[in-house]
Symmetry: C2
Subunit: 478 residues, 2 copies
């Protein structure tokens, strides 16, 4: 089943390298249905870990899970003008079902604002029903002509949070709070620093008042949007008549938010940390954190080695580490190679020589090997520390890489040069949509965000020369 493919180097061909890493780590593949992917067990296990952590965070912030229909009547989608305009080119439509033509076509959900809020309008009648904090884990469909595993597929898995509030401030606070959840998740678990900020008008979500975003840098210097959180204002509330009686018995429209992350995050994880040997996973998200490879020549050696491996496994499991013992009868090199490609953070090699309280410990991130000749409990404690160390190291490496590649520029010439080099560019912008579009046409770069920590720093727009109040982040993006 597993092919021994040679991984293209990043330098040689970054997009090809990305696909090679996915194939050699057995994460996903294109399906027979054009544009749809099959998420294989190794890839799905990463998604399950992401779900577990995010779901816990959502619940701790008071959000409850629910499930809404896959299908949306076409007429619902049309109720919010910008929303339907944004999504209509990407829709998949069910026209026939149960052997008959449907009287109204059904859209396969590209996102669930419309179907959910039609229901919210029945659930909400008083300020006592607010805030309403709902999340769903689901599949969504957006027709993509140029699919790319994890990054852009016709169907993908995601979570979508949808909340309703009694005041604009409360909704905006919630939108920012969920962005903060995404930021923490990216940085603490995926070891991937993000820039948080606000999208420009032309890049915001179709139907939102404000879109907040968390943007990360990949190893080719391109940006990847990790998650977005939208302050929807009252746009959808008005379209779907989501109203409540306030404390003074006055009828008001609710203020809403929506926010989501998807299986795209797996693509980000790959492109941020992996190397020319294959996948590199941060320990906190790795389905297998430690693999113990058993090396033996005969069954007598095998039983001694496996016995020792199980003792180590036990010590590690007691420390909440997820461990796998590899006792397959393969050449050591083959085993090592496979676990490297799969990105397991730590490998312990056990052969007959190691059985007397020795072990050889290999860390995937730096390829360093260490021989430990200490009691097994002490080893286990060292491995806990080592995993923490790998997690920190990956984050710091990514942070340093990114920070060196964010360049302040003050002329269009420099702008183009730095974008071509694969950098993020931090430049003054007049705030005009036309300028933004021209820059996109001429350089391929888009405004990733107006960072929250943007300094008030008057200057001149890098393109139009008109006055600007601060620098925004431009980059080519996935």
């Amino acid at each position: 089943m597993q092919k021994n493919i040679k991984i293209t180097t990043r330098e040689e061909n970054f997009p090809k390298w990305y696909l090679d890493v996915i194939e050699s780590a057995d994460l996903a593949e294109h399906s027979p249905v054009k544009g749809c992917m099959v998420i294989k067990p190794n890839g799905y296990a990463i998604w399950e870990n992401m779900q577990k952590i995010l779901d816990k965070n959502f619940k701790e912030s008071g959000v409850e899970n629910a499930y809404f229909p896959l299908f949306i009547p076409e007429s619902f989608l049309k109720k919010e003008a910008e929303h339907v305009e944004g999504f209509s080119p990407e829709l998949a439509i069910v026209t026939h079902a149960g052997g008959e033509k449907l009287s109204e076509p059904l859209v396969v959900r590209p996102t669930s604002e419309t179907i959910m809020y039609a229901t919210f309008s029945k659930w909400i009648s008083s300020y006592r029903d607010l805030p309403l904090l709902i999340n769903q884990w689901a599949n969504v469909v957006r027709w993509e002509l140029r699919p790319r595993l994890f990054l852009r597929t016709v169907e993908f898995l995601w979570q979508e949070g949808h909340t309703a509030h009694a005041s604009e401030k409360e909704a905006d606070d919630r939108a920012r709070e969920m962005l903060e959840v995404y930021k923490k998740f990216s940085e603490e678990y995926l070891a991937l620093p993000v820039i948080v900020g606000q999208k420009s008008e032309s890049e915001k979500f179709a139907g939102a008042k404000i879109t907040y975003t968390a943007e990360a840098m990949m190893q080719d210097g391109k940006a990847l949007q990790m998650g977005t959180s939208h302050n929807l204002g009252q746009n959808f509330a008005k379209a779907f008549d989501v109203k409540f009686l306030d404390e003074k018995n006055q009828e008001q429209f609710v203020w809403q938010t929506s926010w989501g992350v998807s299986t795209r995050l797996i693509g980000a994880l790959i492109m941020a940390h992996s190397d020319d040997k294959g996948l590199v996973l941060p320990p906190k998200i790795a389905p297998i954190q430690v693999v113990i490879t058993c090396i033996f020549k005969d069954s007598d050696e095998e039983s001694r080695v496996v016995k020792y491996a199980k003792e180590i496994e036990n010590e590690l499991k007691n420390r909440n580490i997820s461990v796998k013992i590899d006792q397959r009868d393969l050449r050591p090199g083959e085993k090592f190679f496979e676990w490297e490609k799969r990105g397991v953070p730590v490998r312990i090699e056990i052969g007959p020589k190691e059985v007397d309280s020795h072990m050889i410990v290999y860390r995937r991130d730096t390829s360093e090997k260490e021989s430990l000749n200490i009691p097994i409990e002490t080893c286990a404690n060292k491995i806990v520390k080592l995993l923490e160390n790998i997690q920190t190291n990956l984050f710091e490496k990514a942070l340093k890489f990114r920070d060196e590649k964010i360049i302040n520029v003050d002329s269009l010439e420099e702008f183009i040069k730095e974008i071509e080099k694969g950098n993020f560019v931090c430049a003054h912008w007049s705030g005009e949509k036309e300028t933004e579009l021209k820059i996109k046409e001429e350089t391929g770069a888009t405004i990733r965000c107006l960072p929250f920590d943007m300094k008030i720093d008057t200057g001149k727009c890098v393109y139009s020369g008109k006055p600007s109040n601060g620098r925004v982040i431009f980059a080519k993006a996935y």
Copy 2:
């Protein structure tokens, strides 16, 4: 948001009672899309608990999760003749996407045998790739004209396991092993006894060689199929060319199984245990196992009562019990009523009088109340025991109820009488399809299963008088 509806009694109108219980416990509702349901947070939390337990069991048996596309090319479905015949009346079809008519229509998956096995044929080449043990948690769509919340909806959530093996015996063992997982889950967690056995030819899954089933009895005496597990033989392997080289280097088709349970199980849970006051949940599946209702008249009382409630909560949480404190400013009766309707197994009432190490403990299953005047740690231990006791009591009650309602009959007259009374009937059957169909037409009852523990007991078919080798279970079914 929550309406105070009056629950119809079971005696009065069982189907109406079922819907009233769902509505008053706020579990689900019909969506604006015909036939599709919205699973509300209280209902979804039950599903999440089911998923957690089943998923753990699957993984312990070596199964890995993956994810396959929602869409299936129409031509795939047609490759297995019985399969397409069984499913074609229920299909939803995407004909347009991305603004264009598709060259080949896509079916929204009603089940994933075809799309998965087209991929399995690429994954499997040698006996070393076997067994392949895959599960997916997903939504599926089967066009239903008479939808019923949880029991029969156009879209539902489920898991579908799909495995491939090198021998027929291994596949059959796996199909039976997974049925056993479902049986244990039903009995130990849902407190719901099941009869396990084999489906008759006409009731088996479209495309299967043998279908195994776990059947439960609802309070109206109807049967509900809790889960099925199929030995698919080589039917799909031949249709999708899933082959492997065996140890002798001979090419062979694999032997396959598939097995699934769905959100239907929530419907079963409701109809098995609930009463005229509303939902009753077995503690092992209840999202909230204990609710502590705080009763107070002023803020001084409130702070004393809530402080005490938190101490109790703490003791219970240390014992892995899921607890909710209800300190809303509502009348005690209102609170009690709400938690009863929601099926929380144990309620602790705390008022100012109870603060000095008293508490009043109410169990939902029997409506018994007890006043405990013992130290808080002892109380907590008692509540752990009480929850176990409730779990056992619900199972035993359901078992007794069912066993009293399985009736051996030897004439068609008796058969009709017992079915009309809402019993399961255990009767001789000749094994002929025509007889089975005639019995269905004349009595509304179907063969639920040929039980595994069927005694070899020669007799005469209750309908045709022809020889029979044993009694099978007939019932009306959901």
